[in-house]
């Protein structure tokens, strides 16, 4: 497919107003972090964040009401990340994992490493790391994005009962992990 010669390309993200530009800058970080926490690595999170913003910015009409736009953008972002997990075969949101001891799920960490680790953030991050992709995704949508369980179920395309199990398992595992660390 060829284009007519002399075509010019955009040299800026085509946002109509300063307000929209500010909206973009503020939400870029938030969306990236949400996607990063779902997929678990920076390169994929970068690609998917770009994809989500391109999808969103091509719908300029949706950016006119910035109050609603943030929620709509989050939806695009989480759907993009969830679709990625599905395509890569990493996750089936309809399966419910058995609740296992979270420490036993992290066999790569020796007790000595646990003792030496001083950073609170890393310690908490590892707590998220012991969850399965589906538990973590459900938890992020419920507790960070603040979506009601029904909407989480719709985004994950599974039943509300399944989503509640993912959320419950995720919270229980995280709690048990923290209790083990304290011990």
């Amino acid at each position: 497919m060829s284009e007519a010669p002399g075509s010019t390309r955009y040299d800026a993200i085509p946002l109509e107003t300063e307000r929209q530009t500010r909206f973009y800058n503020e939400n870029l970080r938030r969306v990236f972090l949400l996607i990063y926490r779902i997929v678990g690595n920076v390169p994929d999170a970068q690609d998917l964040t770009q994809e989500a913003f391109i999808k969103a910015l091509q719908r300029q009409d949706q950016l006119k009401d910035l109050d609603k736009a943030a929620h709509w953008l989050s939806r695009i972002a989480s759907n993009t990340a969830i679709d990625f997990l599905r395509r890569s075969g990493r996750v089936s949101f309809s399966d419910i994992d058995e609740l296992v001891d979270p420490v036993a799920s992290s066999p790569h960490e020796s007790p000595e490493e646990l003792v030496l680790r001083a950073e609170h953030r890393e310690y908490l991050e590892n707590g998220l790391g012991v969850l399965t992709d589906r538990e973590r995704t459900a938890l992020l949508l419920r507790d960070v994005e603040g979506l009601p369980a029904e909407e989480v179920a719709a985004r994950l395309n599974c039943s509300k009962a399944t989503v509640r199990s993912h959320i419950a398992n995720g919270r229980v595992k995280f709690r048990r992990y923290l209790e083990r660390r304290k011990a």
Binding site: M1, E3, A4, S7, Q58, G89, S92, F93, S94
Partner: protein, 363 residues
């Protein structure tokens, strides 16, 4: 002598039709599951180094999701790489509620080299795509089923709205008249056989260049400006089309209908030309599909007309012709009715106007 007896016995055993092994392989998180399957008289027949697989299946699928299923596409694969190894079955224009069960029929003949197999089965049935009532999609989309099913669903909504409005505003007589025209459209629409080949077809007749005329479709975001193909007897090769994006949004896909008028004055839709494009607003571009079209022998191509049938914007939204545009006499006679119009026409034929009105009330 002994080895030739053994070989002939083996040959006899292989020559007998066998039941091909089948596998229905849906992902673990699939919104649909298989309730039952009846493979009927499916069989396989070896010929030389090739195995012909006749696949006749009646599947019952369950909607395990929380949404209504509008359409599903199954890929039926004996092997991926060489021609004849795969087919697909799509059931459009459904409305399957959560927990609902619906049938899908498969009637395909595929082939594969003797010895080559998909993960242990002669034939594998995979879920290429599921379209829900909110137009969300699940599936691998290897066969571009997302696009085709979305377009069919949009056509279905368009046609139902049109018929319901016709009933509300003009009454039953008007609806009856419209349905009679739909029946006529389906039965009278000329459809000669056609072949489509990569590159160019093989006619040795001298070629001449023939320009496309274009049907103006109101509100179409794409305007075809010029086009031509090389014609030799019953074949058309090397079409080239110039198109303009006259919308304000970038376009990533378009589909053109190719209408042919033959020597006897008969006009019919010969082929569809889909093209992935990258067309910013206001820009022109060329579509140069590498194929040849071949009509029945002794069919001469007198003229060609193109029209825009589908556009996909870069944001994933679609344009399809409105019902008003389709009421243009020429398009109505030539373009295939939507799957939903076909379904509603069949209901009208079976159950009359009352049955049709009851069906329209469900949406």
């Amino acid at each position: 002598m002994r080895s030739s007896v053994i070989l002939s016995l083996l040959g006899a055993a292989l020559a007998a039709a066998q039941t091909p092994t089948r596998k229905v392989d849906f992902p673990a998180d699939s919104p649909l599951s298989l309730k039952s399957v009846d493979w009927g008289d499916s069989n396989s027949t070896p010929r030389g180094g090739v195995l012909f697989l006749d696949v006749h299946g009646s599947l019952s699928l369950v909607n395990n999701s929380q949404r209504h299923v509008r359409s599903v596409t199954l890929a039926v694969v004996s092997q991926e790489v060489t021609p004849g190894g795969k087919g697909s079955v799509t059931v459009p224009s459904m409305d399957v509620a959560p927990g609902g069960v619906f049938p899908v029929s498969i009637d395909l003949r595929l082939l594969r080299p003797v010895g080559g197999r998909n993960s242990g089965a002669d034939v594998e049935v995979r879920l290429d795509g599921v379209l829900f009532d909110d137009l969300s999609f699940y599936g691998q989309d290897n066969l571009h089923s997302r696009r085709s099913m979305t377009v069919w669903e949009l056509e279905a909504r368009r046609d139902r709205i049109y018929l319901k409005k016709l009933l509300e505003q003009s009454g039953r007589d008007a609806l009856q008249k419209e349905m009679q025209e739909c029946v006529a459209r389906q039965t009278d629409r000329p459809q000669p056989g056609v072949q489509m080949v990569r590159g160019r077809a093989t006619n040795a007749d001298p070629e001449r260049e023939l320009s496309f005329a274009f049907l103006e479709v109101p509100d179409a975001p794409i305007k075809p400006t010029t086009g031509m193909a090389r014609i030799a007897g019953n074949e058309a090769n090397g079409p080239r089309l110039d198109v303009l994006n006259r919308s304000e949004r970038p376009i990533r896909y378009l589909e053109m209908g190719w209408v042919v008028k033959d020597g006897s004055g008969r006009e019919f839709l010969a082929a569809s030309m889909p093209a992935d494009v990258n067309l910013p607003p206001g820009r022109s571009g060329q579509v140069i599909p590498d194929f040849g079209l071949r009509l029945p022998a002794r069919t001469s191509i007198q003229s060609m007309t193109g029209f825009v049938s589908t556009v996909e914007f870069a944001d994933g939204s679609y344009w399809i012709p409105s019902r008003t545009a389709l009421n243009d006499a020429k398009l109505r006679h030539i373009a295939a009715p939507s799957p939903e119009e076909t379904r509603l026409t069949q209901i009208y034929l079976k159950k009359g106007l009352i049955g049709l009105v009851d069906e329209l009330k469900k949406f």
